[in-house]
Amino acid sequence: MSNTTLVDSKTLLIIRGSTLWRIFFAIVTAGLAVAPWVGVISGLPLWQKILLSALSFLAAVASGIAAFDLAKMRHRGRIISLALDYLAFVASFVVVLNTGKVFVGIDALADTFGRGIPYLGIAFLGYLITTLEDRLTQRQVEEFYLKQISQIIIIAGVILFLWQVKAIEGFIFVLENLFNPAGLVSLVGLAVFGIAIWAMWRENTAIALRAKVHHEHLLNGWLFLSPNLLGFLIFFAGPLLLSLYFSFTDSDAFNTPNWLGFDNYAKILNIRLVPLDSPTQLARDVVDIKVYDEVGRIKFGNSGLLVAAADKFFWLALRNTLTFTLFAVPLSVIPALLLANILNSKLPGMKFFRAVYFIPSIAAIVGISLVWQWLYNATIGYINYFITLGIDFTNTLFNAGIIDPKIQWVSNENTALLSVIIIAAWQTMGFNTVLFLAGLQNIPGELYEAATVDGAGSWARFWSITLPMLAPSTFYVITTTTIQAMQVFEQVFILMNPAEGPNNSTLTLVLYLYRSGFINFKQGYASAIAWVLFIVIFGLTMIQFQNQRRSSIYES
């Protein structure tokens, strides 16, 4: 006996209607897939044409498969239909919000909301009054009147709030903006896709299509995951893939990009090591200076080695970034480990110090960098002031004759990067301390007791118990700190003026790609730099993972 005999006529009609809807959807999306290439939709850049065609084609194929499955009363058709209609519903909703200019109004919310807060407070007061009903269960008359009063107060508060924030005008504003072809189409789309979702989601349809329990779990799981997943795809994965495309073009973000192939990458990675006849030989004598610039030179007695690159700034930035990472990571991890051990003790005031040391990591980087800019000022900064005080005191007391160095922290190429390292280490140390503290909490106390019984001193306990048991935390801290250090930007951008520092000593990779993309109008080249940086960070992280696998004792 066919399954259709067990299905009520209404559900059968809905499924047949959904099948037709899927066929119609497949035809429309197939048309959308070819529309950009036959001139029906014009004015789109190449990447948008490809994206629209690919997505439309996929939707058409999926819809066709779903139509076939629904005709055969297979549940797979229901799943595909729900997925397609849900995505289309979300897209229609976004178009409705955009056409209605709701996104633009979010800025205006800051202006209007403040006026309505007191009236929301009145409504909240009414709500609080309703909670008093619980105390009057034995006095029904009073309870009745209290309920009436509280409802009146709530309604009055809400009405006043709506009036004060001009909600009605806002609603009319949205409707007026939606009263145009795009708005009306998107509203119709919203309704149609909503009905289509309802048609497939209803229980009778699920039963008719032989849905199982795990099907419902699957659908619910994807439904809950969808907001995060869609956000990830649209705001992260999408732009990421787009930047990969742009890295192969000469995009300036304004005009249609031209395909360059690997030219950007070739320029970035074009570096030469050329022997020099003398340490002072000019670069133009050994390399084509129309192509290469001198990055640096290594001197060996009466000769040397010239390092020349097609893009010297990239290699300078790479050198600075790796140097920064080499020093900033240990300086923010090792003190954090030691601090965590101290803060893990039962001494009075430790909770206070835990909070104090964590504050730099939650403070705004911009604010911190501005403060440190003042501290580092060579003429009136506090750091040099206290150094001078200390030297004067020492010279006075011991007649030492020490010369005040008057360190030019940010304007000397030998100290500029160090200045940034100090800030970064100081700021990151607190957060790493908290991570280590969490790891220390998980170390069983019995291990320390047993070690103490065996006669181990504090250093032996730290070296033989604490460090190995903290291996997972240490690995995580070092990996994340390294990734963060390789992407250093804000401190350099705010602290240094110019941001590249004296003689490009604080030019970092992220700063360089920012400069290329947003100041030099070279978005394609900046994208290529970003992907090279990704490969470098990925490589470093892989090395750390390999080391962790080899050395980890307590993986299980």
Partner: protein, 466 residues
């Protein structure tokens, strides 16, 4: 349970209400007090008649957004006031003023992102060095046709330096009123001067630079003399301070007869004898005579703390300097071997978004923003000098003191300053990033002037189009 339901209903209602509240039209801005009319001016050099431009009639009410880059709240207030007044004067046009961020708040980067996204205002300000980049990429409107159809509009009413770049046609290489190109109108101009700490100069027994300038004796030797005498007051007192960007160090190259580029601005000229001479003198201030604040350190804090005798900066710094607690004034830059001070003419322009839906109205707005009256109101702040070459503009500028010696800035204008500008034949940002670190290396002693001269143009010439 009942309370939870009420709470949920209330919360949902509030959320929906907020959504619609967000869509309510924003309130209009409140106009601030307009600055008072200026008093009678001091003498000026250049006088040109200002030709009023007739606005084209507007067919229907159009809404225009416009933006400029104010450096402080006082400027925002003045521009807001100007916007309100122009809103009433320009028939059929509703204006919305958007105060952009300061230079430190990445005004340019934000603007470029908006231009790329298609959400930039109809009219906006850009620095002079950005004009070529915006024009060659088709981001700003060529208003030559609109200007030609406007009775009374005269390119010569503005300073010729900025107008050269604003009328430069990259396709033909021509400039001027007949070039077929008009990329914008200059908002204002500025020059450098030396802000003087008169208390320090008097205490050091150094001659008053203002008197030296008035007597025609204000040159590099006199400058060095004042700097050395004030430096001798103490190890924490400096004779001279300047920020580390192309503006300050460029003046020394210019004053020696050199400069950044060849006259056609198509090749590097940093290695000429004159440029190197200017660089050598400037380097001596840091290395040999040790009279200057450390290069790369911000000199403004020590100047404001009363520890720098002469601080090189533009007119835009005046509002901030007015709050210092010592006696101060300004003097023009000292004249160099070439016979002039090598000053810069800084400027920025109001331009029209190429994607504006209302080009004619936007052109009206640009004209209205650059009338002498409007520029006078901005000049009242003391931040910059009007870009119109007119007596009325100078009158407005000179009467807003301190500094008492406002004339020093106008003298800088009259001293054949080099106009800042874009590189139509290359990339100015890239040129700056090559030149800056190399110059800094010389000034901080990390590199010799000879080595700089031998190598700088090899690298710098790459930024020019082949």
């Amino acid at each position: 349970m009942k309370h939870k339901l009420n709470w949920k209903v209330l919360s949902l209602f509030a959320a929906i209400a907020m959504l619609f509240a967000a869509c309510a039209p924003a309130a209009t801005e409140v106009a601030t007090e307009a600055p008072a009319e200026p008093a009678q001016p001091a003498a000026t050099e250049v006088v040109a008649t200002e030709a009023p431009a007739e606005p084209a009639p507007a067919a229907e009410e159009v809404a225009l957004r416009w933006r400029t880059r104010p450096d402080n709240q006082e400027e925002i207030d003045v521009y807001s006031n100007i916007s309100s007044e122009l809103d009433g004067q320009l028939e059929g046009i509703t204006l919305t003023y958007e105060p952009g961020g300061t230079e430190g708040a990445n005004y340019q980067e934000q603007l470029r992102a908006e231009v790329a996204a298609g959400t930039a205002p109809d009219v906006f300000w850009i620095p002079g060095t950005d004009v070529a980049d915006f024009a060659t990429r088709g981001l700003i409107l060529n208003m030559a046709d609109l200007a030609a159809a406007t009775d009374g509009f005269d390119v010569a009413a503005f300073y010729p330096g900025p107008m050269y770049h604003l009328t430069y046609n990259p396709e033909t290489g021509a400039d001027g009123a007949e070039s077929g190109a008009l990329w914008g109108l200059p908002r204002d101009v500025s020059t450098f001067a030396l802000y003087l700490n008169l208390d320090l100069i008097n205490e050091a027994g150094a001659p008053d630079p203002r008197e030296l300038a008035a007597n025609g004796e204000w040159n590099w030797d006199a400058f060095l003399d004042v700097a050395q005498k004030t430096r001798a007051l103490g190890s924490d007192i400096y004779g001279y301070g300047a920020s580390a960007w192309w503006g300050p160090y460029g003046t020394w190259l210019n004053a020696a007869g050199g400069g950044f580029f060849t006259p056609d601005r198509a090749a590097c000229a940093l290695d000429t004898e004159e440029s190197l001479a200017g660089l050598a003198f400037q380097a001596s201030l840091y290395q040999d005579y040790d009279v200057a604040t450390p290069y790369g350190e911000d000199p403004e804090p020590p100047f404001r703390a009363g520890k720098v005798a002469m601080f090189q900066n533009g007119r835009w710094a005046t509002p901030g300097v007015r709050t210092v607690e010592f006696e101060w004034d300004v003097v023009e830059l000292p004249k160099g071997p070439a016979g002039n001070a090598g000053n810069w003419l800084f400027w920025g322009a109001y331009v029209v978004n190429a994607k504006t839906e209302h080009p004619e109205e936007a052109w009206q707005l640009v004209q209205a923003l650059t009338t002498a009256e409007t520029q006078g109101k901005v000049a009242a702040l003391g931040a910059n000098i009007p870009s119109r070459v007119s007596q009325e503009a100078f009158d407005a500028f000179l009467t807003f003191t301190p500094p008492a010696n406002n004339q020093a800035f106008l003298n800088g204008l009259a001293d054949s300053p080099a106009t800042e500008g874009p590189l139509w034949a290359g990339s100015w940002p890239e040129y700056d990033k090559i030149m800056g670190p190399a110059i800094q290396a010389v000034l901080t002693g990390g590199r010799t002037v000879e080595d700089f001269g031998a190598t700088i143009c090899d690298e710098a010439n790459k930024v020019f189009n082949q």
